[in-house]
């Protein structure tokens, strides 16, 4: 087992390195933003003395490299600093929001991933039939519309016309689980419609790609039923590419939900990011970007490790 452990540690190290590079990029891109931060926050009316005093308070008078490492050191200890806009602890601010975002992403994923893989398997099984084409057309249509459009269409039917689900996903820390599910139903469906096509098509393609293999022919020559040939013989060997595409989509569910959160006024991290950018709350922007980057890297890393683990040659060495 130890070569696998070594590989995981190696990948983790690489992930940390990537995260470090990303943090440099985030920090410096904020640094290169035009205008003076203190001036922007205090407004045109501020006297040069107040601006200078505020700069000193923020630590902006120190050189960027030094500030970067102070920031990085604090972040490494879990201290993201304080919001410039309302002076609250950022970790507190982000914490609940991140949980909300993860809840929505997790909810969407629970619907989307099994659905996409099942549809992909079915499409592979009934390849080139009417059923296959219908699924393809439907999923491609849903991915081709912009998210906000899908969201508004859903709101129109499910919220306005039929009144089944609320159009605003207003949840708080004390909302119960089932209530949360009820209130986030529409954003979750929107996200599902957006990500399902990619995963389903990849599943279909990965399976069909294997159907010419000698071991698939062998399974058919053993008189195994077509459904079982696909699920039992093709799918396990197609897992690596499927896992990768699932991970990319999961990452998208966490990172790319900004638009959907705004449409449904959902108190998630994307919403916070948008607000902070408009308020020039730089420290919050930095912190949320870093959290997004970490999520992305972690998911991709998990996918890498999982797809290597599905290879029996590595899992069961000679």
């Amino acid at each position: 087992m130890w070569p696998i452990l070594r590989m995981v540690i190696q990948r983790l190290g690489l992930g940390l390195l990537t995260l470090f590079v990303v943090s440099v990029i985030i920090f410096s891109s904020v640094e290169f933003l035009p205008g003076d931060l203190a001036q922007e926050i205090l407004g045109q009316a501020a006297t040069p003395e107040t601006v200078a005093a505020f700069r000193k308070e923020l630590g902006l008078d120190r050189p960027p490299v030094e500030r970067y490492f102070t920031w990085l050191g604090n972040v490494a200890q879990g201290d993201f600093g304080k919001s410039l806009a309302n002076n609250r602890e950022i970790s507190e601010l982000i914490g609940q929001r991140l949980l909300n975002t993860l809840f929505l992403a997790g909810f969407a994923a629970t619907i989307a991933v099994p659905l996409a893989i099942t549809l992909g398997v079915l499409a592979a099984l009934y390849r080139n039939t009417l059923f296959d084409r219908m699924i393809n057309v439907f999923t491609l249509t849903s991915i081709s519309f912009p998210e906000f459009f899908v969201a508004y269409i859903l709101i129109l039917f499910f919220a306005v016309n039929w009144g089944l689900f609320p159009s605003i996903s207003n949840i708080g820390p004390e909302t119960s689980f089932w209530d949360k599910v009820y209130r986030t139903m529409l954003p979750a469906i929107t996200l599902t419609l957006v990500v399902v096509a990619h995963m389903m098509r990849m599943t279909r393609a990965a399976i069909i790609n294997l159907l010419a293999s000698p071991y698939i022919e062998m399974a058919r020559l053993k008189g195994i039923k077509p459904g079982r040939v696909i699920v039992k013989h093709a799918l396990p060997n197609a897992l690596a590419p499927i896992i990768n595409v699932v991970a990319i989509n999961l990452a998208y569910l966490v990172v790319g939900v900004v638009v959907v959160e705004v449409v449904f006024v959902y108190p998630g991290l994307g919403q916070l990011l948008v607000d902070s950018v408009s308020k020039r709350d730089i420290t919050v922007v930095q912190a949320s970007s870093l959290v997004f980057a970490a999520t992305y890297i972690l998911l991709n890393l998990t996918a890498d490790v999982l797809s290597i683990l599905t290879n029996p040659r590595l899992l069961h060495p000679r």
């Binding site: 022919e217 062998m218 053993k222 008189g223 195994i224 039992k232 013989h233 060997n237 069961h316 000679r318």
Partner: protein, 551 residues
């Protein structure tokens, strides 16, 4: 032997036509073949590639590969017409009453499942027995097929088991439902001779024990002679000749059959050993090498290759033949020892060798399909070394390409603009030879150059290589596991086992006893045309405990 022909007919194929779809139309692969098989009988189907052997074998299961169809003909198995029976009915028969053993067990076992799970799949899915019963049964069959650790081997994954063992495990899997008929599709072609014997003996025993009928597909006559009661010779999808095995071997009637029989006749005259003072072109000196730091593949390997000589390096897969070639070409720098070229030490790493040093050593590979870039025309393939090593361009290059194509006996105007996809296997290998010659080397390494080719085509390649050796004064290192090729072309022979040279010397000495034990095992394992050869050999080896190497 052939009292089986008195028995009831199990499989009867009439006027079978099979077509394949390519170039936008249906082309005939098999044109009206008839075949009868009695219960318990073993029928050998032989022919070169493209003869339609495998296609007929699969059609006997009512199966066609994607892109093929059966427009005409009947396949009647035990009273049931498979063509009209419907897919569900056919699927019921497959695996339960007709089973299939594929050429490459390594590819035909699903890499994601344990052997025993794949064994028990057919019996459980066909509702013949419960999984626990099937597993007990598997262990019993593994034991009968003389697999090592029969109790445990089933719980391994395919990649954890050697090729010969996998092939036996696949035979066991085919037996899982005790079928009436098994289709063996070249089951030993991918195996070493020493392993092949084990598998052949195991297959023959088990087929006899369970009184199973079989269709045995192969291109190797000597193998089919051991296995079949009756032989059918096929060519381009037509039946050429059919007869009982002994009669077919002793009195073949058709000319084509006779050429198949005579194909191994080529033998070049052996050159005397080089004098003691002569400088070898290539010396491998005490080379030890491996992949990674801990596992050594070669141990203290030394031999010389002299001017205009062919040195055959023989051994089973994994014996270090190709690794030696990689050391000589500098692809794998040895850990100890050195490579000398005309007495001068070559840098161990090819990146440190000069262009001229690189030019002097060329390679021809086993699989011409993968050794040629499918996007390059013949002109570019052959022109590249001319340009790269010799700096020849323009008109002069064109002239040289024409000359090279003539040398390899391909009409220049016809072939110069073709892509590899438009060439046959033998032609592709000739292009590979021309590419090697383009560098004007002194020495060429031929790595299993004929093993992917049909016998008749392979013989043509060997003759060509011999002619070129005389004309261009080349030295060859010939890596092969096929001892017939060794006999045909070599001057000296180096026998390798587990990364060591066990015996080396001039061919005539090597082929006359007494041999080193391993050389003896290797030589005696080459199947002969005599139908009693396998039985006699197994009888002779009994008592002598011959541990099969490499397992």
């Amino acid at each position: 032997m052939n009292d089986k022909s008195e028995r009831e007919i199990l499989l009867s194929i009439r006027d079978l036509h099979i077509e394949g779809f390519s170039d936008e139309k249906w082309n005939g692969i098999v044109h009206g073949v008839d075949l009868d098989l009695h219960k318990g009988e073993v029928l050998g189907l032989i022919g070169e590639s493209g003869a339609g052997k495998s296609t007929i074998g699969l059609a006997a299961m009512g199966f066609t590969r994607d892109g093929c169809r059966i427009p005409k003909g009947t396949v009647v198995f035990d009273g049931l017409e498979l063509m009209t029976a419907g897919e569900a009915k056919r699927r019921e028969l497959r695996g339960s009453r007709i089973a299939y053993v594929a050429q490459s067990a390594a590819a035909a076992f699903n890499p994601a499942h344990k052997l025993i799970d794949q064994y028990s799949e057919a019996p459980t899915q066909h509702g013949i027995m419960a999984k626990s019963k099937a597993e007990q049964d598997a262990v019993d069959l593994y034991r009968r097929l003389r697999l090592p650790n029969p109790d445990e081997i089933g719980f391994r994954y395919p990649h954890q088991v050697s090729g010969g063992q996998l092939q036996r495990a696949m035979t066991a899997m085919a037996m899982s439902c005790r079928p009436d008929l098994i289709i063996f599709d070249e089951p030993t072609t991918a195996l070493d001779v020493t392993t092949q014997i084990e598998v052949l003996a195991a297959i023959r025993d088990i087929v006899e024990q369970f009184d199973t009928a079989a269709i045995y597909i192969t291109h190797d006559l000597a193998v089919v002679a051991q296995m079949a009661d009756r032989i059918m010779v096929l060519r381009y999808g037509d039946l050429v000749e059919e007869a009982d095995t002994r009669k077919m071997l002793s009195h073949p009637e058709e000319d084509y059959t006779k050429t198949l029989w005579a194909v191994r006749s080529f033998q070049k005259p052996q050159k005397p050993l080089a004098g003691a003072g002569e400088m070898p072109i290539i010396s491998v000196e005490r080379v030890t090498a491996g992949y990674g730091k801990s596992v050594m593949v070669l141990h203290d390997v030394s031999f010389d290759i002299h001017d205009r000589r062919t040195v055959a390096v023989v051994g089973e897969s994994g014996s270090g033949k190709s690794t030696t070639a990689r050391c000589i070409t500098g692809l794998l720098p040895p850990i100890e020892g050195r490579i000398l070229h005309n007495g001068n030490e070559l840098p161990a790493d090819f990146r440190k060798r000069s262009k001229d040093q690189l030019r002097q050593i060329q390679m021809i590979y086993q699989m011409p399909d993968t050794a040629l870039n499918p996007r390059q025309r013949v002109r570019d393939v052959i022109g590249r070394p001319l340009d790269f090593y010799l700096g020849i361009r323009g008109k002069e290059k064109e002239k040289r390409i024409h000359a090279l194509l003539e040398q390899i006996e391909l009409e220049p105007s016809q072939f110069i603009d073709r892509y590899p996809g438009e060439l046959s296997g033998g032609q592709k290998q000739r292009i590979c030879i021309a590419r090697a010659l383009g560098a004007e080397p002194q020495f060429i390494i031929c790595d299993e150059v004929t093993s992917a080719l049909d016998q008749i085509v392979a013989e043509g390649i060997l003759k060509l290589l011999f002619r070129l050796q005389e004309e261009l004064k080349l030295a060859y290192m010939f890596i092969t596991h096929d001892l017939a090729t060794v006999r045909a072309i070599s001057d000296e022979v180096v026998v390798m086992l587990e990364g060591r040279v066990v015996e080396a010397g001039p061919k005539d000495v090597m082929f006359t006893p007494p041999h080193h034990d391993y050389t003896d095992l290797l030589l005696s394992s080459v199947p002969e045309m005599d139908p009693d050869w396998l039985s006699d050999l197994l009888e002779a080896r009994k008592g002598k405990s011959m541990a099969p190497a490499g397992n």
